[in-house]
């Protein structure tokens, strides 16, 4: 049995590798949604390597837990997670955003294993997750459904239609995670369209709300346990995160939303994330300019 400490260290390492993959992939593509990808690294690590019931050899297993990335633009981190989990081959990652690649700029169901719903047009994932959660109940299956939504995305009315429905139907096999990284494309969420009092709003819609440091693996493990144990209500995990976390030169800025990296920025970021000189040299050698 691995100790609790080892488990946490392993999940933190995976989160770091997700960040490294994201940075390398954006280097290969020349451009990518970085900030909102790396802000989810710990959430994805804990979901895929601790919380969710999955069989990498059978990505379409009927009884698997489902994950929907409603803020679809964060998908470089999801593709990296699927590769780490062995659901897609690692050598697909450098094809990010290529025209014929299964790794499109917004995730598409049907062309990439492990992607449970096409997203990208914001606001739709929670509704789709409700459909899956109801389907589980109708089929008397015990799989759980996880939907990751964005803070900027939460200005979409459909999110609240879905919140109202899931609260009304007491869908306790549904968990939403809000990546509360505080920035959308054009600025601070509190200026663009503030969400507070966020917990009160979701509670009023019939949800169990848990607030957690979204970069704390221990905190996230605990939050997902609380969500699983809650009966008769869906749970929203409000994960306080930092946009661009781990890409220091854009950390905590709106401009981290979508970036192109110079060779120096790419090398510096990978160095900070602990990559070896050889790894950095290779990443720089396959880097593309975005035109």
């Amino acid at each position: 049995m691995e100790s609790e400490m080892e488990k946490i260290r392993k999940l933190e390492e995976i989160a770091n590798r997700i960040r490294i993959h994201v940075v390398k992939m954006i280097g290969c593509s020349g451009i990518g949604h970085a900030g909102g990808a790396v802000s989810m690294a710990e959430i994805l690590s804990v979901l895929y390597f601790q919380e969710m019931r999955l069989d990498p050899l059978r990505p379409d297993w009927d009884d698997r837990d489902r994950f929907i990335l409603s803020k679809g633009h964060g998908c470089p981190a999801l593709y990296a997670t699927l590769a780490e989990a062995g659901i897609i081959p690692m050598d697909l990652l450098p094809t990010l955003h290529e025209t014929e690649s299964p790794l499109q700029m917004h995730p598409e169901l049907g062309i990439c294993p492990g992607i449970e719903m096409s997203t990208g047009a914001l606001g739709q994932g929670l509704s789709a997750g409700i459909g899956m959660a109801l389907g589980a109940q109708w089929k008397r299956k015990d799989f759980r459904v996880y939907v990751l939504i964005g803070d900027g995305e939460s200005a979409e009315g459909q999110v609240w239609e879905a919140a109202m429905f899931a609260g009304h139907r007491r869908l306790d096999n549904l968990t939403a995670i809000l990546d509360y990284n505080r920035f959308s494309l054009t600025g601070r969420v509190e200026k663009v369209m503030p969400l507070e009092p966020l917990s009160d709003k979701w509670t009023a819609f019939g949800w169990h709300v848990v607030r957690v440091d979204g970069h704390s693996v221990t905190g996230l493990i605990q939050a997902f346990r609380l969500a699983r144990e809650e009966k008769g209500r869906p749970t929203l995990i409000v994960a306080d995160t930092i946009k661009g976390r781990g890409i220091s030169y854009v950390e905590n800025t709106a401009s981290s939303h979508s970036i192109s990296m110079t060779a120096t920025e790419l090398a510096g970021t990978l160095r900070e994330l602990g990559c070896s000189p050889g790894e950095i040299e290779h990443a720089v050698s396959v880097r593309k300019e975005y035109r």
Partner: protein, 320 residues
């Protein structure tokens, strides 16, 4: 007349029959089931019915999610709100991943029980036809509606069905089986071809009779499969009559007239006249008032066809 059924009259019962045969059938409704007459399904299969409230966008994405778990989902509300209100959800959640969701739109075109422009649907065929993966059908009468629903339950992938509100005669034969990309010739004729669908068919058939009384033999074809369209029927009409008139309960932009024009322009030269709502919004009013206001009565259609054929047209002239 008392025995005539509206396409919507058979929705509930047909869905019940489908669900009795197939445990994967599920129905979603955005607070419209009393008007769509899907209440019978709700009462018979409450466990496979989802009332989402007036939230069409939520309904479409929810149906998409439910379909991934193995359900054949029928999601239903007013045509205008299926297509306009939930357009992006239909595209991103349903059509793009090619999911098994069947959209049932009620209150097609101008005939919305006096509800007026906001509830009329003069754009939906254009919106739905232009989405990849989407099949688009407006069944003609109650019998064809049953056939189309049966096809929808077997078909894999997204489909939009536009269902008429009001009673009309049975036109399709008793042994008719719906086929996507097919059509039915309701009346033979070699002078001009009237291509139409749905609840304007009584006006079209009556116009054809009026033309016949003046010696003009109009072919009438029911083009219920709006996508894929029956290209062969269009090409045959072009080849054999040289003159095609389309009749749309829809804007002339994006409806059957546009679909036929696409076929003619690329594959089968012929003259074309499009009858329909001429790029204006609708109005409140009864069906009769709408027919008059938008020049869609049988007399209007007949007059338009004669104008199209020209004053010197005599029956039996070679197409030109």
């Amino acid at each position: 007349m008392e025995n005539q059924l509206a396409p919507r009259d058979v929705l509930g019962q047909t869905l019940i029959e489908l669900a009795e045969e197939d445990s994967s059938i599920a129905v979603l409704d955005a607070d419209f089931c009393t008007a769509s007459k899907i209440t019978a399904f709700r009462d018979r299969f409450p466990d496979r019915f989802i009332q989402v409230g007036i939230a069409e966008q939520n309904m479409m994405s929810m149906a998409a999610g439910l379909s991934t778990v193995g359900f054949t989902c029928f999601a239903s509300t007013i045509c205008a709100f299926c297509s306009r209100r939930a357009c992006d959800q239909v595209m991103t959640s349903i059509a793009l991943p090619n999911l098994n969701v069947k959209i049932i739109g009620l209150y097609a075109g101008l005939f919305v029980g006096k509800n007026g422009a906001s509830h009329q649907s003069l754009e939906d065929i254009g919106i739905m036809r232009s989405m990849a993966n989407m099949t688009v059908v407006q069944p003609l009468d109650a019998r064809e509606t049953i056939q189309v629903l049966r096809y929808a339950a077997r078909h894999r992938g997204p489909m939009y069905m536009r269902i008429g509100r009001d009673p009309l005669p049975q036109y399709v034969p008793d042994d008719y089986v719906f086929r996507p990309g097919g059509s039915i010739t309701l009346r033979p004729g070699g002078d001009v071809a009237l291509l139409a669908y749905g609840d304007l068919m009584p006006q079209v058939m009556s116009a054809a009779e009026g033309l016949a009384s003046k010696g003009i033999q109009a072919r009438v074809v029911n083009m219920s499969s709006l996508k894929p369209i029956d290209e062969e029927a269009v090409r045959a009409a072009a080849r054999e009559t040289g003159r095609i008139v389309t009749v749309d309960n829809h804007n002339i932009f994006g409806g059957l007239g546009s679909a036929v024009a696409e076929v003619i322009a690329e594959k089968a030269p012929a003259r074309l006249r499009r009858i329909g709502v001429r790029d204006v919004f609708g109005k409140s009013g009864t069906n009769a008032e709408m027919l008059a206001r938008f020049h869609l009565r049988a007399d209007d259609i007949e007059k338009e066809v004669r104008d199209f054929l020209g004053p010197r047209f005599h029956a039996g002239n070679a197409p030109g």
